[in-house]
Symmetry: C2
Subunit: 337 residues, 2 copies
DNA sequence: CTGTTAGCGCGTTCAT
DNA sequence: ATGAACGCGCTAACAG
């Protein structure tokens, strides 16, 4: 069922049928009617691939993340996909989630993906402070938006949480609760979100006049296992921290486990704060204090910005900064004395 | 940089260049060399869309899941994607994750997706006992494999865990520990995995001669919140269960929270068993007994089966049944007396 | 208003 | 061993 057979059965030329279907004004109302009726009756659908070849548009966008072992943050990816696809579906666009391994093959895989021309635009997640993928997207002039900012790349559209502010605020809160030895269990510092959270953390320390030596920073994988491992080490220090800021909830849950295994009570003896408000955190024991983060809304914002970028909008002011909210729960409390 | 310009710069015809590039035997070795050299030098890549139009192949496969609010099982989707893409990448195939909302628009969206011709094959997750999506894939003759079996559909290739055996075994273990009132907090029964887990559960009850009335089954969303809600109700029964089998870990974590709020100790007063071996379970308090499930391996299997199906293999014996493993942890213990 | 024609970029059969 | 010519299915510039 091609446009050809449809045209023949109508006794019209292919181009007339095409223009009728695509809503051109230079076709008579009567003809348009006939064409639409016949198309519906014969259940004609334009061949998408031929359509793509002729127009250069694919009708799909890619949501790209990096995948690597030892990363339990996968649920957020699907949440973002949910928000993105919800918006793009209304525009008849497909959202395709794609994962690229974060190893030595990364850039060649990324390049292969871009060369595949499967999509009209890209949403790139998990940005790094200096992100070669962003550079390549810009070089290729692919419309894109990032989830998370960068630091050393040329300007681009982005959606991000105010990581600095969130960690500054949460750390300050711990200071107000009397904590003077606060550790940060952070993600790898080349990940931009981790970098920012550390900045916020240090700002709060400095404002409070806390010594850096009493407030160690560790970099680790984003897993409960890593969180437990690092927290166990921290608790063996001569002057162990009385509070631990954790870059994500999974790490925080691991840290709580370590605290309990050391015979201490999270929230009472050692405070723990996570990030992400993951659904199980509220059911942890004690419930996990965390920083809430509207991931699905971010997905919607990403989609809306991408539509603007694909529409040729100037990229410079296309950004959305979300303010996360500290959720105080029992894992966070006054310093023990 | 099309094949045309490449051919011109070589003083060859388009067809010769094409055949040289595609490894046809009827082209001289010398010419082949020249063509390859020039292609590399000029960085020629065939236009993927034109290639797709000419061949009918897209070089991509879709991993499709249904998305809906109140479902915390999203991490498994990314794990599967990881396994699938790992295998398919070696074949130069792209893996695209796509989510379709599980509501009244589902089938029209699914149809639109299939009509988009963005992929050569499909992996369909979260099967239902009677799955209209499977029926449509068969009608359209799209090569596909499901993650999870169906019951009322025509035969198809699948990968699945032995849900019946896993829940039968875990429930039997609870019986051996002395439990006589065991509840099942299950997913919606039209989801095939939930249906199967209930079958296994009931088999164990029957074998042990336990009364159905003492062993209630509840159907709920796959969230910690729902788990807590249902468990709270269960604990208010006149003869509350001494053990709770939960269809997923998130529900189990919620159930444990409910048990604690009721002043009881999970594992000592009320045993809890989950499913999925989610990474935070081992750090729960007490550590969560669960059923381990090699999700990434399943992803690899899915990819391998799909390659066979796309290769025209007969579908009837294309299936992989995984045996999950019960992991006994402290949330599971002898019945209190 | 409608039809003719020319791409889009590639794969492939059929002569030579 | 090579080239000419056609098909894939559709869009769009041009002519009438």
């Amino acid at each position: 069922m091609s446009i050809q057979t449809l045209a023949q059965s109508l006794g019209l030329s292919i181009s007339t049928v095409s223009r009728a279907l695509n809503g051109y004004s230079d076709v008579s109302a009567a003809t348009r009617e006939r064409v639409f009726e016949a198309a519906k009756r014969m259940n004609y659908k334009p061949h998408p691939v031929a359509h793509r070849l002729a127009t250069g548009k694919t009708g799909a966008i890619a949501l790209i993340t990096s995948i690597r072992p030892g990363n339990d943050q996968e649920a957020t990816f699907v949440s973002i996909m949910r928000g993105v696809s919800q918006v793009l579906r209304q525009r008849q666009l497909f959202t395709m989630g794609m994962g690229i391994p974060m190893d030595e093959t990364e850039m060649s895989e990324f390049e292969r993906l871009l060369s595949g021309r499967l999509f009209d635009g890209v949403i790139l997640t998990r940005t790094r402070t200096n992100d070669p993928r962003v550079a390549l997207l810009q070089e290729r002039r692919v419309p894109f938006v990032t989830y998370g900012r960068t630091q050393d790349n040329a300007p681009h559209a982005w959606v991000d949480a105010d990581n600095v502010g969130a960690f500054e605020q949460a750390t300050r809160k711990l200071v107000e609760l009397g904590h003077r030895r606060i550790a940060l269990i952070n993600g790898m510092p080349h990940m931009n979100f981790a970098n920012q959270r550390e900045v916020g953390f240090r700002q709060a320390l400095q404002a409070a006049g806390l010594s850096e030596s009493a407030c160690p920073v560790h970099y680790t994988e984003l897993t409960a296992e890593s969180g437990e491992h690092v927290a166990t080490q921290l608790l063996q220090l001569k002057s162990p921290p009385t509070a631990m800021m954790c870059c994500v909830d999974a790490v925080a849950l691991g840290a709580m486990a370590a605290i309990k295994k050391a015979g201490l009570r999270p929230g009472a003896d050692v405070s723990v704060v996570g990030y992400g408000n993951s659904p199980v955190g509220i059911f942890a024991d004690p419930p996990l204090a965390t920083i809430d983060h509207a991931v699905i809304d971010n997905g919607r914002s990403l989609a809306e910005l991408l539509l603007l970028v694909m529409n040729g909008e100037n990229v410079h002011n296309l950004c959305v900064l979300e303010e996360p909210v500290l959720i105080e729960r029992a894992s966070m409390g006054p310093v023990a004395r």
